[in-house]
Amino acid sequence: MPFWLDMFLLFASLSLVAVGGANVLAPEMHRQLVDIRHLMDEATFSQLLALAQAAPGPNILSGSIMGYWIGGVPGLLGATMGLLGPTAVLAWLIAGLTKRLAHAPWLKPAQAGLVPLALGLVGASGLVMAQAAASFPLAPVITVLATLYVWLAPLNPLWALLAGGVLGLVLL
């Protein structure tokens, strides 16, 4: 099997079970890349993951740079296509389905019924991130302040990140 195809299949299989997105991808990716296939060591894995999360961009791209680390440009392309392609096709098909059913009287309420799920899952990923970020005593304080700011102030949420970065510099 060509290397890029191997990468494509590996990352496609990871992405297709990642209900909930990049946050649930990481543990499974770790199992495959470090524990089973020994493609990188523990330290490299956590450094690449931290880098992808700190840098701007969707967190799923952590998988892309793992592919790049393992196999250069073919690894990068194979991994990225695997991560994004099959799930995008699925999303495309589902979008078509909802379009075809647009006039069904039950579709709107049914979709509205999924909203609590989205709210709960967004909240949960926030809590998981907060836990992971609590690496110094004042981190939870920063998290709570940023929460209140984004919740209540109609301003750009990115100011919270800038303030967090400055506080990190000052405090650590």
Partner: protein, 186 residues
Amino acid sequence: MTTQKPSLPNLFLGFMKVGCMAFGGAQAVARRVMVEERRWLTERDYAELLALAHVLPGPNIGNFAVMFGRREYGLAGALTCVAGFFGLPLCLLVGLVSLYGQFGQIAAVNAAMHGVAAAAAGMVLGTALRMGTRLKPPPEAIGLALAVLLASTVFKVPLLVIVAVGAPLGVFAALRRAQRPEGRAR
């Protein structure tokens, strides 16, 4: 709230902005850009499409980009949104990986990154609260959202199970509410 239909270049630029400003996940910025700044969708439309994107496997906002793009401009729209969203951040990351050897060791960079991570978590939490306050979900929906939150964080229930149980429950509750003549869901 009035919404505006984006042009294709607008879609590309908007999703590029979301991608490039997505620190610790794209949730917070995506909602900010699409609902509050550019008014492509209403709060409710956004939440419904996002919920669908969450239930599907893969990147949440990536799925959202495909579905929203298709809704606006078909295949061209979906490709435009996805390319806008992932393109630039991917190039940036590849550059950073090559530089990381020198740059990751600097203590100041690490300290700032720890602060950013703490704030990013607050950004995601604040976004969930803001969506919740603005959507004013009925009591049973609030209950379900909290149950999902607890199941995921405290009880570590696998996500597939949460979705398999939570999605039918939510849909069932919403359908019942819609059928009651006095129970207007919105």
